[in-house]
């Protein structure tokens, strides 16, 4: 692995999971799987001394370095990062808010394509995550399973013959597996069916939450569906529950809601998404909340063929790249909220104005 102190390489590109491809990518943004693992012979993080944390970090790092495939994997010492850099990695979904805000020795190894990352000293000693574009849980599982096997060959995991992989919080014990599918559901929000749909989901062991970040779930229309239980089911069963039973049903409801909106008044819908694109393309200053709100409409417009000169990947990336730390990294300095609003508008204009620009890759 190689020490990465400069995150500007990441700023200039976007993760694979944002490319807007893969099954059901008009509705499913990403499929994420994470595994929680702890090393045998160390207390869990809550009871670790600073020295314990350092030992865990050093031990995991040196063992990962034994894996030849990890030669080119950037390794980031989170403790030494600035607040903006930490926030940047959170926005990028490569680290959690918890590890960004905690103290003491902690790190993350990041795959250059951003498909996977391994956090060291989060709530558990190890949090491995894999993220793919679209509804792609099976290949995400195959990838994380291989990574887990490779790491397990190097370190001894805390494992219990009855309770499975032992975790700091009993909500993760057993498989340590959390499957999360990020869905974009503007149709269900506009038709006010979203609560009804999710209320029915509560009976089948899934959890639903809005997207993290500066926007609220109303503005971005993003919802994350995850498995609630981790003990007593195999990994395959949990994947099937989320990926084959729950998510396809929500996708179906969202498609029906979109069809209803088109039948009810295509002109109104077309007008609505075109105005949203107009505001994003011409505003001179714009808040994060407003950006999320209008990008959500534009994204639906692109998927329904009402806007044909903007790529889905561009919209997906704009959701992430217009967030506060991204703007500050792109600008190379700390910006006030008001400065960010101006920079955000200018950034949106650069990427949405003019047919030639609209299909450009963001950088």
């Amino acid at each position: 692995m190689k020490e990465a102190t400069d995150l500007s390489v990441l700023v200039q590109k976007s993760g694979e999971w944002l490319r807007g491809t893969g099954p059901e990518s008009d509705i499913v943004i990403s499929s994420r799987i994470r595994l929680a693992r702890n090393l045998a012979g160390f207390p869990f993080i809550r009871k670790c001394s600073p020295e314990d944390r350092e030992k865990i970090e050093r031990q995991v790092r040196s063992r990962l370095e034994n894996l030849p495939e990890w030669d080119e994997i950037p390794y980031v010492d989170i403790a030494t990062l600035s607040e903006v850099d930490r926030q940047f990695l959170v926005e990028r979904q490569l680290i959690s808010r918890e590890i960004a805000d905690s103290e003491g020795s902690r790190a993350v190894a990041i795959d250059p394509s951003e498909q996977y990352s391994v956090m060291i000293n989060e709530e558990d000693h190890l949090r491995i995550q894999v993220m793919h574009s679209g509804l792609d849980l099976l290949s995400a599982w195959e990838q994380i399973d291989r990574i887990d096997d490779a790491i397990e060959g190097e370190v001894l995991y805390a494992f219990h013959s009855k309770f499975g992989y032992l975790t700091a919080c009993p909500t993760n014990v057993g498989t340590g597996l959390r499957v999360s599918v990020m869905l974009h559901l503007p149709g269900l929000v506009i038709t006010q069916q979203i609560e009804k749909v999710f209320r029915s989901m509560q009976r089948i062991n899934v959890t639903v939450r809005g997207l993290y970040g500066e926007g609220s779930q109303y503005t971005g229309d993003f919802y994350q569906v995850s498995n609630q239980v981790t003990l007593g089911h195999t990994e395959q069963e949990l994947l099937e529950m989320v990926g084959q039973e729950v998510v396809p049903r929500i996708i179906d409801y969202e498609r029906k809601a979109r069809e209803f909106l088109i039948d009810k008044g295509q002109q109104d819908l077309h007008d609505d998404v075109s105005r949203a694109l107009g505001i994003l393309s011409t505003a001179r200053k714009i808040s994060s909340e407003e950006t999320m709100h209008y990008l959500s409409k534009v994204r639906m417009g692109v998927n329904l063929g009402l806007i044909d000169d903007v790529q889905l990947a561009t919209i997906n990336k704009l959701f992430i790249h217009t967030q506060p730390a991204h703007l500050q990294k792109l600008h190379g300095r700390v910006l006030t909220t008001s400065d960010r609003n101006v920079q955000r508008a200018s950034y949106l204009q650069r990427h949405l104005c003019g047919p030639a620009d609209r299909t450009d890759e963001l950088n």
Binding site: N38, A40, G41, F42, P43, F44, I45, R46, K47, K55, R63, L67, E69, R97, D145, R146, D148, D149, A150, E152, G153, E154, V155, L156, Y157, A158, F159, H160, K162, F163, G164, Y165, L166, A168, C169, P170, T171, T175, S180, F198, R199, Q202, T207, V208, R209, G210, Y212, G213, E214, S216, Q217, Y218, S226, T230, L231, G232, H233, T234, E235, E289
Partner: protein
């Protein structure tokens, strides 16, 4: 409308869909909304606390609860009271030490007590050897502090013997 947590105007209206009693609407200022939304996954503390509250309502007297709260893991020193408040355990041995106390909680959260998923291919360390490892590490640190390096190196050998050598495999990632 004012924020539920401060006097600023509530500009974010969030419907929390993960509450067991049905959707809960929050009216918040930008700062408090960000705090709520940045929590990521639903807080384990609240789900653990909820499950514990249900468990503790069932038949435990105040005296029994007081005794349980004082119960302390001999390896990491966490008390059940500390766990109840933080939602986090202190070490792998806690799953054995507090097993009877955790079972109703695990059943409440997962509706199961038996792992049926993936298992490590390496023989997992037993609960005892995991506890030994933690103890030996503490002893080794103390020996180093006292500059008893010979003792420290003996302890290191014992730790390595329990941990075993890492497997060498050419796993493609």
């Amino acid at each position: 409308m004012k924020c539920q947590y401060c006097d600023k105007p509530a500009t974010f209206h969030i419907t929390e869909l993960t509450e067991p009693d049905g959707p809960q609407v929050l009216h918040l200022c930008e700062q408090h909304a960000r705090n709520v939304l940045q929590k990521g996954e639903p807080t384990p503390v609240s789900s653990v606390a909820g499950a514990l509250a249900k468990q503790l309502q069932l038949g435990q007297t105040k005296e029994e609860l007081r005794k349980l709260d004082q119960k302390e893991c001999p390896v990491c020193g966490i008390t059940f009271f500390e766990f109840r408040n933080s939602g986090r355990l202190g070490c792998p041995l806690d799953y054995d030490f507090f097993e009877a106390d955790l079972k109703p909680l695990l059943l409440n959260i997962h509706d199961s007590l038996e792992h049926t998923g993936k298992r490590p291919t390496r023989a997992a360390a037993t609960a005892d050897s995991q506890a030994d490892l933690i103890r030996l590490r503490k002893e080794m640190e103390a020996a180093v502090d006292r500059e008893e390096y010979e003792r420290a190196s003996e302890l290191r050998d014992q730790i390595n013997a329990i941990q075993g050598e890492p497997k060498r495999r050419g796993n493609a990632i």
